[in-house]
């Protein structure tokens, strides 16, 4: 059905060819407004009267429009779906310049809605040679998106450590704030109060510096502030151990990225005294190699 076969439209055609944009704009300035808006000379003929479903009067439609959808109608969209995410940020072999080599890991997972989520944080470290010892820490938190960039969280923490036949564990309550500060630094802070009455604050921050679209340099800082001495953990009141890490990862995919890195581990003040008293170094360089995996 060629249009030209069906309807000879010479007049309009000539007009169309004659009127380019510049011409149209020039013409508009000269033509009085009354005429300018009817270039083809007629108003569009439109059918009159509302578009009503068959068998319904206008009143019935307006009644229906004011009501909630009938039973059996699904939701128009599913904008409150449950999502989940898990990332093993660090799964790495740690080789210090002094002392024994270790396996370390740290990850998080959440499941829930946009604003309300169940949030799990987990980290641990264990020996890979010699005597069997290690420690883990796991938080189970409820998380609420309170502002565009911040999740407020509250929950419990279970920490344990073991060495040969010795096993110890501690429960704590924890409140936390997670989010992104200006300059895109991702921050995780928490305040914990243990069943033994110990109170301390932890903070970590990290930033992704992208070298290429797949090669990412990630500086990271981690420190704690203690309200009191906890001799069995070799920490004193004040600043606890500080870790300054840099990891260089290659994102084969967004979900799978091997990396190499280095950690500067340092203790100062009272904590350093306790560490030294235990015969350990107050400073360590740790070489890191591992995988970052997300699900």
């Amino acid at each position: 059905m060629r249009i030209t076969d069906v309807w000879p439209t010479h007049v309009v055609l000539a007009w169309l060819l004659a009127v380019g944009l510049p011409a149209a704009e020039a013409a508009e300035e000269k033509i009085p407004r009354d005429h300018a808006h009817h270039p083809s000379g007629a108003e569009e003929a439109e059918p009159v009267g509302p578009k009503l479903p068959q068998g319904m009067t206008l009143d019935e439609v307006l009644d229906r429009a004011a009501q909630a959808p009938p039973d059996g109608f699904p939701d128009a969209i599913n904008d409150n779906a449950i999502f989940s995410y898990a990332v093993l940020d660090q799964f790495e072999y740690r080789v210090p310049n002094h002392g024994e080599e270790r396996l370390g890991w740290e990850g998080m997972a959440w499941i829930g809605y946009d604003y309300d989520r169940l949030w799990i944080e987990h980290e641990g470290e264990r020996s890979v040679e010699g005597s069997e010892h290690g420690e883990t820490e796991t938080d189970l938190r409820y998380s609420r998106l309170v502002t565009a960039f911040w999740h407020a969280q509250g929950g419990v923490r279970y920490a344990n450590d073991w060495a040969d036949d010795v096993y110890a564990d501690t429960w704590s309550v924890v409140v936390a704030l997670q989010g992104v500060v200006p300059y895109m630094v991702e921050v995780d802070t928490s305040l914990a109060l243990s069943e033994d009455g110990d109170l301390w604050f932890e903070a970590e921050g990290e930033y992704d510096l992208r070298v290429t679209q797949r090669l990412v340099l990630q500086p990271r800082a981690d420190f704690s502030l203690f309200a009191q001495d906890i001799p069995e953990q070799h920490v004193g009141a004040g600043l606890g151990p500080v870790d300054l890490d840099v990891r260089l990862r290659y994102e084969f995919t967004r979900r799978f990225a091997p990396y190499l890195g280095i950690r500067y581990h340092v203790t100062v003040g009272e904590t350093a005294d306790l560490v030294e008293a235990a015969g350990e170094k107050t400073e360590q360089l740790v070489f890191l190699g591992g995988l970052r995996i997300a699900w």
Binding site: M1, R2, I3, T9, V12, L13, L16, L17, V19, G20, L21, H37, H38, E43, E44, A45, E46, P47, P50, K51, P53, Q54, M56, L58, V61, L62, R64, A65, A66, Q67, A68, P69, P70, F73, P74, D75, A76, N78, D79, N80, F83, S84, Y85, D114, L145, V146, A148, V180, V181, P182, Y183, M184, L209, R210, V211, T212, Q213, R254, R255, A294
Partner: protein, 630 residues
């Protein structure tokens, strides 16, 4: 059938004849014979037929899910009568269309007739117009066609649109067509992924920037210096400023060429789809952007195109070199084929992460040259509502010196201009009622925010939303090409109802890019009240884009008269209006369609995550249900 002779290439036409009869048999006997070819291989995308829905007896559409050769591989697609896109459906204005939709899938489905004015129960939105079409069942759409022009249809169920359930819809005018052309051709632009759309959604939801492989990196500092026309210091300061604001200036498209195959009529650029056109012919290209997420910049290198229709509405002809077709828009352009060469139809995606193309030529197997691709654009200060200073391309360097969140302190002093004659610039959709509103010379800016839209919104609370009607959009307009803007659009004939509106509401487009939450005024659909229009009223909506992304807003059932700064009678009417970052866009609506309708961002993943409202056209805007989510 005579239209078909010109419509498809010789090869497709031959294969389609056999195919059509198979379709008919399948529809009549109820057996699913569409998805297998004689060789047993999956059918090939792009082999679509043409049907006349206002012809005697109406038409049958069979929806199936299964393997399809598409995008250079085999995907698990939803086909309509065996193909992606589905058949071109023709209708004739004034006649009754009858379309029987047979759902042969294991899930509920629907078809929405995009841009068509019809009774709300025929609009095809599950949960609003009807309950949907359950698995295995048939639904008959029946409505009288009251308009003409180029439109399209697509599923409104879940993520089915991403899986291929779309096609072109052409309504032939009852009278003479003012557009003169020798032949007309279908151009359906779309995007395809081999991933499950729900998996795509999960990635967007849990890993920000998952598909963005054009991020600011150390290795592209030089490229950015070129794009922004800055020295290294300027670019570093600019990056620091965006970092400070916790935003990504390369966040142009959520889903990119990293997963998408870009299609014209179901075929990738590698497959070089053919559009038949003879030397000297005036070719009317009926273009539809049926993408889930992709904005296309369309041009025919060396060939100007005359835009004659937008969203199915005839417009005064405008000659341009390029146009951006927003998701869900349609444009009809007329081009004159040169005597001596084939022509490429080049459709570059907005973030430049890929392209689709086709070749216009008398014969297939000809490939016209593919033009050089352009550099990807980056967001500028203008996209954040900071048009002051150096035109949005410079002025970033100073950002870090400001002390407010987002470094917007410098903007606060302009806030007193923002109110203009809108005194109630408060939160949410406020309403002013009574007097007739101005129809020309509307204010050119409004304040973003307020910043209290809650955690679902990252808002530049102190900056402005501007009218950018003559702005062709991100990455366009600075290379000498004449690019279509909304300001070029003037309706050819004045629609019947051009009363000045008497009521006005503001809608802020909001989103949290980090959490992938989208909505209006900080609320998702499930959190929001229905939006009420009073039956018979003329209503004005001011869209204020608080986000850093483009959003194509689509209103079902009624036109939006777009304020384009012309005489009121000339402003074009649209079914889908793009709102650029930090843009203020005003539309006037005749609330002449009683019932309940959908209104939403047509980016599929934004819509599904909450950028959606139920519109109720009711007797009184104070009556009715509190929430459509029951």
């Amino acid at each position: 059938m005579n239209a078909d002779h010109d419509h498809l290439s010789e090869w497709t036409r031959l294969s389609r004849r056999g195919f059509l009869s198979a379709a008919t048999i399948a529809a009549l006997t109820g057996c699913s014979g569409l998805r297998t070819t004689r060789s047993g291989a999956p059918p090939v995308a792009g082999n679509f037929s043409e049907l006349d829905a206002t012809g005697e007896g109406g038409i049958d559409l069979v929806l199936e899910r299964g393997p399809l050769q598409i995008g250079g591989g085999i995907g698990n697609a939803i086909t309509v009568n065996g193909s992606v896109p589905g058949p071109v459906i023709r209708m004739t204005e004034g006649k009754e269309a009858v379309i029987r939709v047979h759902n042969r899938m294991g899930e509920s489905t629907s078809i929405h007739w995009h841009g068509i004015l019809l009774p709300f129960t025929m609009d095809g939105v599950p949960g609003i117009s009807f309950a949907g079409i359950p698995a295995g069942e048939t639904f008959t759409y029946r409505f009288r066609v009251r308009q003409n022009g180029t439109y399209w249809y697509h599923s409104h169920s879940g993520m089915q649109e991403q899986l291929g359930l779309y096609g072109q819809l052409i309504v032939v005018p009852a009278g003479p067509d003012p557009v003169a052309a020798d032949v007309e051709r279908t151009v359906v632009l779309s995007d395809w992924t081999f991933e499950d759309p729900h998996a795509v959604m999960r990635k967007l939801k849990t890993m920000e920037g998952y598909y963005n492989f054009q991020r600011p990196i150390l290795a592209n500092l030089g490229q950015e210096m070129e794009i922004r026309g800055m020295d290294l210091g300027g670019v570093l300061a600019s990056r620091a400023a965006w970092n400070r604001m916790r935003m990504d200036e390369s966040d142009i498209s959520d889903v990119t060429g990293a997963t998408y195959k870009y299609l014209i009529n179901g075929r990738t650029a590698d497959e070089n789809p053919h559009i038949r056109a003879e030397p000297g012919q005036r070719v009317r290209l009926r273009m539809v952007n049926a993408s889930a997420m992709t904005y296309y910049d369309v041009r025919l290198p060396g060939l100007p195109m005359t835009v004659v229709q937008a969203d199915g509405q005839n417009v005064r002809p405008v000659e341009v070199d390029e146009l951006r077709i927003t998701v869900a828009e349609t444009y009809d352009v007329v081009v004159t084929m040169p005597a001596d060469r084939a022509v490429t139809l080049f459709a570059e995606v907005m973030d430049r992460s890929g392209y689709a193309r086709a070749t216009l030529s008398p014969m297939s197997a000809v490939a016209a040259e593919v033009p050089e691709r352009r550099q990807r654009p980056l967001l500028t200060m203008a996209d954040m509502g900071m048009l002051h200073g150096a035109g949005g391309h410079a002025g970033m360097a100073g950002m870090g010196d400001h002390d407010s969140q987002g470094g917007m302190a410098g903007m606060a002093k302009h806030a007193d201009h923002a109110g203009m004659d809108h005194t109630a610039a408060g939160a949410g959709a406020h309403a002013a009622q009574g007097a007739t509103l101005a129809v020309t010379g509307l204010p050119d800016r409004r304040q973003h925010g307020p910043a209290d839209h809650g955690p679902g919104s990252i808002t530049m609370g102190h900056s402005m939303a501007y009218r950018r009607l003559d702005n062709p959009g991100l990455g366009l307009g600075d290379d000498g090409r004449r690019v279509l803007t909304y300001k070029h659009l003037r309706c050819l004939t004045t629609p019947a109802d051009r009363r000045a509106p008497t009521r006005e509401i503001d809608m802020h487009l909001t989103g949290n890019m980090h959490q992938y939450i989208w909505g209006f005024d900080g609320k998702k659909w499930s959190e929001a009240d229905v939006l009420r229009f009073r039956y018979g009223e003329r209503l004005r909506i001011n869209f204020i884009n608080d986000t850093m992304m483009n959003h194509p807003l689509h209103l079902h059932g009624m036109w939006m008269d777009l304020y384009a700064g012309h005489a009121y009678s000339e402003n074009p009417r649209k079914h889908t209006v793009n709102v650029q970052p930090a843009e203020l866009v005003t539309v006037d609506i005749s609330a002449d369609a009683p019932g309940q309708w959908a209104f939403h961002c047509h980016l599929l993943y934004h819509m599904e995550m909450g950028m959606f409202r139920t519109v109720a056209v009711v007797r009184s805007v104070t009556e009715g249900v509190a929430n459509a989510d029951h």
